[in-house]
Every structure is written in C-alpha cells, then in structure tokens.
C-alpha cells in the first residue's frame, strides 16, 4: 500500500506544494486567525490534496494502468485510505504548526477568536474528526462512481447532510439544549472555538478514558464503514 502512496506522491508532490503555499498565504492573513478558519482550512488543505490526486488520476486515466498492475482492487482502495490518513497527519502538522506560529506572532487576538484553542487535545480531536468525516464521505463516491459522478453525488450528500444537521440543530435548540453554547452563536463568533469547547465539555463530563474510546469509535466507525463500502463499490468499477 505504501507503494501506491509513493506513486501518488511522485505524481502530485509539486501541486501539493502549491496547495501548501496557498494555505500558508491564507494562514498568515489576520482574517484567518480564528479556530474555525484553521479547522476548515486544514480540512480544505487535506481534502484539496486528496482532490488533486483524484483529478490528476482522472485526467490521465491512470486507474487503467494501476488496475493492470499485480494488485488486488481492495489493495488499491486501502492505498487510497492510507494516503488520506497520511495526508490528514501531514495536514495536522501543517495546521497546528501554523496555529502555533500565528499565536506567537499575533499580539492580541480577540478572545472569542483565539486560534490557540486549536493547540490542545480537544483541538486535535476536532480537526481529526472533521477531516476524517469529510474524507470518509467522499472516497466511496469517488471510488464507486469516478470523479464526475462521484463529486456530484458527494455534493448532493453534503447538502443533504447539512440540511439534516441544521434541522437537528434547530430541533434541539428549541427543545432539549436551548442553553448549549454552540447553538446560540452569531456569525461573528468563532464556531470552531465553540466546537472545540464542546468537545472539551464532553471530555470533562465523561472522563478521559471514555472520551478516548468515544473519539476512537467516532473516527473508526465512519472510516471503517467508508472503507468497506469503497472496496465493495470499487470491485464493480470497470476501466
């Protein structure tokens, strides 16, 4: 599987570098100095790098080439997930390194938009869950239906999921959790910070061991399910 990651690295490394530069430019602008921006930028960086790989692969139709090599289809799919994991880890280093540098450079960031919230276990969990969630949702669509159709259905799924989450949030806000911080925010507040604080309150309420277990399950279940669906769909693909 590492061989598959290696060939993707060889194919994409210069464009990934360009994506990193764009991320860096965004990261140093004061507009981006709040947690949500970093979290989203981090997710966008990782997802963007994955998309770069996918677009290059689709443009050159290299799935036919690598499908002809002595590899099982399931290995090819696992290779993509391993690459996504490595990109998530590399993206994490870039994002948290960026936040660390900015927090040193910035003199007095607004309290509500303090990106230093990211530099914590809760911040890392938030970043990881967001990135894993997006990738776990995208890869089955891409591997099952190809770039064009896969991206269309992924976008449709994201919209449907967003509407469902919005509906659930409105329902909860009106009924059970009307005082929860995340549900009472206005646009000038740092939603990312609130998300991280929410993760922090969950950790405090259930205790660290149970929290770690919950986080592991929250990452492993969608990722595992996504991998299983991707393998099944990719076996049916024809090149």
């Amino acid at each position: 599987m590492l061989k598959l990651c290696w060939k993707d690295y060889l194919a994409c490394r210069w464009i990934w570098l360009l994506a990193l530069l764009i991320f860096g430019l965004n990261a140093v602008t004061p507009m981006g100095w709040f947690s949500l921006a970093y979290m989203l930028m981090g997710a966008a960086l990782v997802f963007g790098c994955l998309l770069i790989m996918v677009v290059i692969e689709d443009k050159n139709k290299t799935e036919t080439l690598y499908g002809s090599l002595p590899l099982k289809r399931s290995t090819i799919v696992r290779g993509k997930y391993l690459l996504a994991l490595l990109l998530t880890m590399a993206g994490g280093i870039v994002v948290f390194g960026g936040v660390f540098l900015i927090s040193r450079i910035a003199k007095a960031p607004q309290l509500k938009m303090d990106p230093r919230l990211m530099l914590s276990f809760d911040g890392a969990v938030g970043y990881g869950l967001v990135v894993i969630g997006i990738i776990a949702l995208y890869l089955p669509f891409y591997l099952g239906f190809g770039l064009a159709r896969g991206s269309f259905w992924f976008s449709a799924a994201v919209m449907a999921l967003s509407l469902a989450l919005f509906g659930a949030e409105r329902f909860l806000a009106r009924t059970l959790l009307s005082r929860a911080a995340i549900l009472r925010m206005s646009v000038d507040e740092d939603i990312g910070g609130a998300f991280i604080r929410l993760i922090g309150s969950l950790r405090e309420s259930v205790g660290v061991p149970a929290f770690v277990l919950l986080v592991a399950l929250a990452a492993a279940i969608p990722a595992g399910l996504s991998l299983a669906i991707s393998i099944r769909l990719y076996q049916r693909r024809e090149f």
């Binding site: 060939k7 060889l10 290059i56 443009k59 290299t62 036919t64 080439l65 002809s68 002595p70 590899l71």
Partner: protein, 291 residues
C-alpha cells in the same frame, strides 16, 4: 480442464453492454507462441484484453493464464503479464524516469538493467516528460515497461496502430526476440494484419463480439481462399461454400473457408486465389454473408 501447456485459455467468455455483446468467446494460446487477435474496430478485441487484465467484469466464462484463474489468482496472474494498452495511460506531466519509479516497485522481478538497456535501444530519454513523447515513443516506453519485469505473457492491444513502418518492424523484431527466451508467449491485438503475417503463429478473428475462427496462421492461410467469378457463384448450390460475398454488376467476389473444395467445385469457372488475413477480414466484415 486447464493444462499448463497453455499460456492463455479463454472459454465461453461473455460480456454485455447496451449496444454491444461479447458472446461465448473461446480460444487458447499455447506457451511459446504469438497469437494475433484480429477484427475490425469495435469487434471486441479491447474488451477481451481488458477482461484478461480484469479491468472489466466478465459475465460468464473462464479466463486462465498459465492455468490460473485471472480473478482468483489476480496478483500472481498479473505479475506474469506484461501489458501495453492501445492508449498509454500514464501521468503526462511526469518524466519517464519517475513513471518507471512509480510502476517498478509493484513487480518483484523488476530488471532495472534490462529497462535501462531497452530505453537506450529505443532511444528514449529518461528525463523527458511523457507528454512530450510522440505516440511511437509512448508505445516504446510502454513496451519497455512491459518487457522489464520478466513477464511470461505479453498482452498488447493495438501496439502498432498509428505508428510508422520503421517502428512497427522494430517492434515485431523485439517480440520475436522476446519469444526466443523459451516459454514466453504474446497475445497481440491489431487490425494491421500484415504485421501478424510476419510473426504470428496463431490467429483469432473476432467480429461483432464473437470468434469467427481461431487456428494456426499457416492453416488459416492454407484453408482460406478468395474466389472471384461471375453471378453463377450466387447459385444456391454454392451456399455454405462462400462467405462474405460482394456483388458488383458482373463480378462476384467472396472468400471460402475450404480452398480445396472451392478449387474442386469452382476451379473451372472462377478465379481462386490465396487469401491473406486482410482479405479474410475484409470480406467477412464488409461482405454480405453467404452466397
């Protein structure tokens, strides 16, 4: 029952699309020989090759490479196959060196020295971007990769199409050299039948997704004949003897799969000539069926 004497055995292969059907395709390539897979464009040659490489899902039938099922033993089977697709699918922006670096690790028998020797023989610069190579150079590069991992079976899909005669001869020479290393075999799909007349030992002709014939080339060339004569060739008694009939005002042309019988029955009234593979393919594709 599969035997190890065959490099490739295909039995009852089928695959359907909305507008095309590969129907009950069967043929076998003995070890140590070259088989030409011929047929007009859209006949199903590429589909067969993609099914061998498991790039398409077969709906029925069996494909065995050196006695192993191409799906159950996919990795081992593909390790023994060197392939060249009709369109080379590589990352355009990468150099030949980097492309090789991305493919070589997947083969445990990769022979770097052989690869470099082939690149030199083919006049291919390692540092040149793939997008800047001509079609001929791209094909040569694909062939260099296919030959550099000690494959036992080469599967080539239209490798000479669109190439100049110099490179075509060079390629054919390279394939003959490949066969000299005993036990190697080649499946070579093409619609340029003259290439096959030079090197093929066996020929399989596919038309409209079905095998018309699959036999030794010499046997085919001996057995088939072009028959040219007057409208009397259209007589009911010749039905079954003539195929791919083409009628012009006073001339009827066709091929016969039984040259000896055609000579015996029509030798006095019609001109009977030796048929080339191209003749056979032409008449069977463009003609109007039986007399």
């Amino acid at each position: 029952m599969a035997t190890v004497d065959y490099a490739l055995e295909i039995k009852g292969l089928s695959k359907s699309y909305r507008d095309f059907k590969l129907n009950d395709v069967s043929f076998a390539l003995p070890k140590g020989y070259i088989m030409g897979l011929i047929g007009p464009n859209g006949a199903g040659k590429t589909t067969v090759i993609k099914l061998i490489l498991n790039l398409l899902r077969r709906e029925g039938g069996e494909i065995r490479v050196f006695g192993r099922d191409n799906r159950e033993d996919e990795v081992e089977v593909k390790r023994r196959i060197g392939f060249v697709h009709d369109t080379p699918f590589f990352y355009d922006h990468m150099t030949c060196r980097r492309l090789k670096d991305s493919v070589a690790p997947f083969y445990r028998d990769w022979d770097e020295a052989l690869f470099r020797r082939l690149m030199e023989e083919f006049d291919l610069p390692l540092g040149k971007r793939f997008s800047r190579l001509s079609r001929g150079m791209k094909m040569k590069f694909s062939l260099a990769l296919a030959l550099s991992h000690n494959a036992d079976l080469l599967v080539l899909d239209e490798p000479t199409s669109g190439l100049d005669p110099v490179f075509r001869r060079e390629l054919l020479g390279r394939l003959s050299a490949f066969l000299q290393d005993g036990g190697k075999s080649v499946l070579f799909s093409t619609h340029i039948t003259t290439d096959l007349e030079r090197i093929a030992d066996f020929v399989t002709f596919i038309r409209d997704g079905a095998v018309v014939f699959s036999a030794a080339k010499d046997e085919i060339l001996e057995r088939w004949a072009v028959v040219k004569g007057g409208p009397e060739l259209l007589a009911e008694e010749h039905r079954g003897l003539l195929q791919g009939v083409r009628k012009r005002e006073f001339v009827v042309q066709a091929v016969s799969a039984d040259a000896a019988e055609a000579r015996r029955r029509l030798g006095k009234t019609a001109l009977i000539e030796r048929a080339s593979l191209e003749d056979i393919m032409f008449y069977l594709t463009r003609g109007n069926g039986h007399a």
